[in-house]
Symmetry: C2
Subunit: 421 residues, 2 copies
């Protein structure tokens, strides 16, 4: 193995779908690096993730005043730009790696921190492996982020707690709305939330239901096949008991044919957004039971809702950023994560997992978190989830709106010829 | 005219679609009435609006501790239950009025405060007129609420400012999300918001756009016919300039045929929710320009989002409740409203309008608030709207979620036989 560098420049980049707190991780990286000026020279950030490395579109965070690092911590979405791009395997596209290391070398990068999800942790593994093979002195550390909470090796993922808090708050509020309006025929409300294969966000909505009469009354998880008859019977029972029923539907809920629920015409038109499960469920309720049905589609709102971020989540996002710098300086490659020490009081610390045990894997809800009937969660899930939405971390406001940082650092002059893919 | 009562019991009820702050008006009514014990005996509340009066499903707010009145102020949706129900004209259904006044008389009601929208102000007018004709001593005061901001006689409607703040914050956050992810082909995002005939909420989203590059880039208002070719050209221009385009669509946007934009299959199935304009616009962008398009449907979330209420709005909602009590005690029938004294600094007071000048009318965006190209708003609108979303009034939180009051006051024993419609 190549000796791990002891000092040098650090490069940070963001990848995948953004979250309300990924910039808190960026702020953690920058803040921690500024504490170590004797070992970290420049803290560069690539625009649009690994694509920005290949393109050599780099910025220098030194131009960011400390006050703006604080605002960055309270700003949602990826301030440096994100991407959805996977490196090719090194043996099929060595030129891609030649370019990558040419850029790293041109800027004397010794530490690479990549803030992303499952796919990005594979990118970390690929780069670390290639560096070791080439004898390029580099330590790569993965910084986890995803609203989907589907990264293994960590008790929870930064980004999840805030999206969960937003969604649980929203369904709590809608539940009061539904209860107020219940005066005529039966009514139902459907909220579609993110979660293609893992139902963590849908499950988190259950925190709003302190008892069986509170919304959400039913939750449809991707881990459980959609049993329409059983579902409609449950909706009917709730409406007959309390007049209205609130349902949370994960976007990835699948029917008996194994396909994600989707409106027929959408498929025919080749509509590209994965969605529609909520609308399908709303229409089935209306068509079968005759209730008045409303549905909402949170879409990007749920992953960028920094205005109602969880304080636990922002603290953890900041902490994994700081920890990644410390691990890198210690020559420890791998993926930073959160280890839970205790549920109540909730205590946690950061940990580190090998790339191989994280990259490209996906963590779905374990059986012990899913209610026996498949339409909700267990007390064990609630115990696990509750601390993750705990605490408020309001962003600063100005003129009635969040005073977010609209960052646009200038690009560093290129030291290499333009990238040709 | 019947002499106005000087003292007696007060009945309060909520009507129409709920808002994040209608309970703040209820809290204002209760708080003000508690200051006047020598003139107001009991403060009763009907369940589910005027229907609850007819059904004699009444509760006594005296059982509510002062601390809970404070929590009520910070709780969204109608804590006493709302309804969508219009009284018949008095000449076609005199029995309905006989029942109504029998209930009022049985509980010695001298003041009736109805908290609702345009239709509810007609109900107020009908009841006041019938009371005067019958010689029943009653003063009726309308308390305005609607997220749609379409009530005349008031500069703004309690409920609007908070929904506007929620939506403007949401599109601001989504704008950062879109900007972060802009790395490949063009991208667009569509947010559908409430507003069947009046585009106030869609227009309010413009407050997030401090400059032309910030979301939302285009707004489709019900006041402006949908010109698909012109719209798509504008989307294309925005995407070619900055890579992505965020569009806000009012649910009531109409095509050249005068019909609200709706997915074809929805019409065929008789799907009952007025919506779909956002989905139609998203599909047209995708089909015509080939961009990746996401859309979100805020639906009930926008009218119940008390977690990000406007402090101006909660203050005004509370104030119109208090003012309604004072007007009633002064024997002044009519609809309470908000009069603007100045824009900056923003100063306002409550006012009173005759029922006739408010009931069943609808206020849409005036021409001077709509941008010349029809795809946005003017500076005059921004100046009008900005103070309405100003200030934060966070609800209390417990265990990570808003600690809302789940009110369920016991029904008073009936003094009359059951209601037969």
């Amino acid at each position: 193995m190549t000796a791990r560098p002891m000092a040098g420049n650090l490069l940070y980049a963001q990848s995948g779908g953004v979250t309300a707190v990924i910039n808190a991780s960026a702020a953690g990286v920058i803040a921690e690096a500024r504490l170590q000026p004797e070992r970290i020279g420049r803290v560069l950030a690539a625009r649009n993730g690994i694509l920005g490395v290949l393109r050599e579109t780099l910025t220098d965070t030194a131009t960011l005043p400390d006050a703006d690092v604080g605002r960055l911590r309270a700003t949602p979405a990826g301030a440096f730009g994100s991407c959805r791009f996977d490196l090719d395997p090194v043996d099929t596209n060595p030129a891609q790696y030649d370019r990558l290391f040419a850029v790293l070398a041109a800027h004397e990068i010794r530490f690479f921190l990549y803030n992303g999800g499952n796919g990005s942790m594979e990118t970390c593994r690929q780069i670390q492996t290639a560096a070791d093979v080439r004898g390029y002195p580099l330590t790569v550390v993965g910084v986890p982020k995803t609203v989907d909470n589907d990264i293994v090796g960590t008790d929870c993922c930064p980004g999840f707690g805030s999206a969960a808090k937003y969604l649980a708050t929203s369904i709590c509020e809608v539940g009061l709305d539904l209860a107020a309006m219940t005066s005529g025929a039966g009514r139902a409300f459907v909220l579609e939330v993110m979660g293609r294969n893992a139902g963590w966000l849908a499950a988190a909505c259950a925190l709003a239901a302190e008892d069986a009469d509170r919304a959400p009354h039913l939750i449809l998880l991707p881990e459980v096949g959609f049993d329409e008859a059983a579902f409609l019977a449950r909706v009917k029972a709730v409406v007959e008991r309390i007049g209205a029923c609130a349902v949370v539907v994960a976007e990835g809920v699948r029917g008996p044919d194994g396909n994600v629920l989707a409106m027929q015409d959408r498929n025919q038109k080749g509509y590209i957004q994965l969605g529609g499960a909520g609308e399908v469920v709303a229409e089935r309720i209306h068509a079968s039971l005759g209730y008045k049905v409303h549905y909402a589609l949170a879409d990007y709102l749920q992953r960028s809702a920094r205005h109602i971020a969880s304080k636990t989540d922002t603290a953890q996002a900041f902490a994994v950023g700081k920890a990644a710098v410390r691990r890198a300086l210690a020559g420890q490659q791998g993926v930073v994560g959160i280890a839970r020490i205790s549920d109540a009081p909730y205590r946690w610390r950061t940990n580190l997992s090998p790339f191989e045990s994280v990259a490209n894997l996906e963590r779905s809800l374990p059986a012990e978190f899913i209610a026996a009937d498949g339409f909700g969660v267990t007390e064990a899930f609630r115990r696990w989830c509750r601390p993750l939405i705990s605490g408020e971390d309001w962003p600063p406001f100005r003129d009635g709106l969040p005073d977010y940082l609209h960052l646009r650092l200038p690009l560093l002059p290129a030291r290499l010829p333009p990238y040709v893919a």
